[in-house]
């Protein structure tokens, strides 16, 4: 069932002392591939740790694959595969044994874990290199090995933290293809945290966008893109007159010389543009719908929200607390 929810949170809050990392998060992640986006400090890592049951939420509740994140962390971790962002492999071990051991830690029989390690490493493209020490691996091979560790027990949900980070074009392509195959052919779900919008767009149908620990946007990428739908025209002669006429008609126009992008307001937008052109005598030599990329969408949302890192006020929950911590001790604060 496609609409089945795999992650659901209600008023999920996580504070580290006075620092509010996740603030009343209400999420509903469907089965399939979902991108987890957000600038640095948005709370992505905290969110992942919380849903893995590795850290306890301060308030609120949530479920992953039907298990309560507060009390059933073990059950959740048995059914998901986690691919950490940073180096998470022992450089002195062979890839095959590292993957086998990660399977044994899930409770797999050693013989079965070894067989599955072979299959997983073959699947992620490591092939015969699996007998080499991980310390001799390239970044791409290390990323693939981490993915093999995550896939060894055929989890229902794979949480991949920056899976294509630091990879060259070929390795990146293969990683994207592997994740896509896992979703499409394997019918598994992927929650992919990444800063590379292009990769997220290629793998995922849905996104969750976090900002300062709060939910900024969530839904299908196609639907979210509609908020940034524009029509691009190339004008010859009378461009200024045309721009003014369209603005007078209530259209939102962004202009860069003869190229203009007009916000899509409805089915009659094209007609209105052409009518304005006819009135002003401007020639429209090219007209097409401009499809925003996920990066455009991200920037638009961030522009609306204010794309800055967390301030002390954000981190500490209240201006009073922030002042207290920021102020030096002799001024009544507790900070430097």
């Amino acid at each position: 069932m496609v609409d089945e929810l795999i992650i659901q949170t209600t008023n999920l809050t996580k504070s580290y002392g006075p620092h509010v990392a996740l603030d009343n998060l209400n999420l509903a992640v469907k089965k399939g591939a979902t991108g987890l986006l957000g600038p640095n400090g948005a709370g992505k890592s905290t969110f992942l740790k919380t849903i893995l049951g590795l850290i306890q939420a301060t308030e609120g509740e949530g479920t992953v694959l039907g298990h309560d994140i507060r009390t059933e962390g073990d059950a959740i971790r048995a059914r998901i595969g986690y691919m950490p962002e940073y180096d998470a492999l022992n450089p002195d071990m062979d890839a095959i044994h590292q993957v086998r051991y990660s399977g044994e830690l899930l409770g797999m029989n050693p013989t079965i874990a070894l067989a599955r390690a072979h299959e997983s490493l073959q699947y992620v493209g490591i092939g015969e290199q699996r007998y080499r020490k991980i310390g001799t691996f390239s970044t791409g091979m290390k990323q693939a090995t981490k993915l093999a560790c995550a896939l060894i027990h055929d989890p229902e949900l794979i949480i991949a933290d920056e899976p294509s980070n630091g990879l060259d074009a070929q390795a990146r392509e293969y990683m994207i293809k592997t994740l896509t195959t896992t979703v499409k052919t394997g019918q598994r779900s992927v929650l992919m945290a990444s800063h590379l919008m292009d990769d997220v767009e290629r793998v995922c149908e849905n996104i969750v966008l976090l900002h300062k620990g709060k939910l900024a946007a969530q839904g299908a990428i196609v639907d979210l893109k509609a908020i940034d739908r524009e029509i691009e025209i190339h004008v010859w002669g009378g461009a200024t007159r045309l721009a003014e006429a369209m603005e007078a008609d209530g259209l939102v126009v962004r202009r860069e010389g003869r190229v203009m992008r007009i916000g899509h307001t409805g089915e009659d937008t094209t007609t209105r543009i052409l009518r304005c052109a006819a009135q002003t005598g401007a020639q429209i030599r090219r007209m097409h719908e401009y499809e925003a990329s996920l990066e455009d969408l991200f920037l638009v949302i961030m522009e609306n929200l204010g794309y800055e890192i967390k301030t002390s006020e954000d981190l500490l929950g209240s201006p009073a607390l922030a002042r207290k911590v920021d102020a030096p001790a002799h001024m009544g604060g507790g900070g430097a």
């Binding site: 893995l52 590795l54 962390g73 073990d74 059950a75 971790r77 048995a78 998901i80 595969g81 986690y82 950490p84 940073y86 180096d87 998470a88 492999l89 022992n90 450089p91 002195d92 071990m93 062979d94 044994h97 086998r100 051991y101 990660s102 044994e104 830690l105 899930l106 409770g107 797999m108 029989n109 050693p110 079965i112 599955r116 299959e119 073959q122 699947y123 493209g125 092939g127 981490k146 560790c149 027990h153 055929d154 293809k177 592997t178 195959t181 896992t182 052919t185 394997g186 598994r188």
Partner: protein
């Protein structure tokens, strides 16, 4: 430039639209036929290999995961067997060599007793073997291994057992598995204790039996 088609041929019969495989020419040059083939025959493309020897196929796994004790046993076995075998926790070579040297040194009392028995040489036994006459040997034998060797073994084993996981970041991967911190630390402690037990208790037992 356009070429005129022979009158008896319809356009397309030359097979211009058909994929060119080169097979026809090769057949004509090197093939075993008489060379009287009808040149107007269209060469049909054969299924060709894409050159891939590996096809990416997701293989599901229907098995069941074992309970907690099996996960703990995996941690214990991984650390314990690492001393003897490849494919488990890679203890450093200096650590393994030191353990071997101390193990052999700890067996020296019993070994000398055995040797003197085999040779019938009492002086050898008095010098180093298990007897009341060789206090010097006892001091040389017990003091170093109890006070110097074993603490060094403990330090070598314990020193990296958790810090390496932090250093390499493997703890992030391991804790994404259904293991608790208590089990993780507990099994590491037990594995180190067992390795030391083999060195200390086994040699002491042999000494006592000698």
């Amino acid at each position: 430039m356009t070429e005129e088609l022979p009158e008896d041929l319809e356009p397309g019969e030359y097979g211009a639209e058909a994929p060119v495989t080169g097979q026809g020419r090769m057949e004509a040059a090197w093939g075993s036929s008489e060379g009287d083939e009808d040149l107007s025959d269209t060469q049909v493309a054969q299924p060709t290999s894409t050159g891939h020897v590996f096809e990416q196929v997701y293989k599901p796994w229907q098995g069941e995961l074992n309970p907690r004790w099996m996960r703990n046993w995996a941690i214990l076995r991984h650390h314990l067997l690492g001393i003897f075998k490849k494919g488990h926790r890679p203890w450093g070579m200096p650590t393994r060599l030191f353990i071997l040297v101390v193990f052999l040194a700890s067996l020296s009392d019993a070994a000398l007793t055995l040797l003197s028995g085999l040779l019938g040489e009492a002086s050898l036994h008095q010098l180093w073997g298990v007897s009341r006459d060789n206090l010097y040997g006892h001091v040389l034998g017990f003091f170093p291994r109890n006070v110097l060797y074993y603490p060094i073994i403990a330090a070598l084993l314990v020193g990296s057992v958790i810090s390496e996981d932090r250093q390499h970041g493997t703890s992030a991967l391991y804790f994404s598995r259904p293991i608790t911190r208590f089990d993780y630390v507990g099994m590491k402690f037990l594995s180190v204790a067992l390795i030391q037990s083999i060195v200390v208790l086994l040699t002491l037992t042999l000494y006592a039996l000698a």
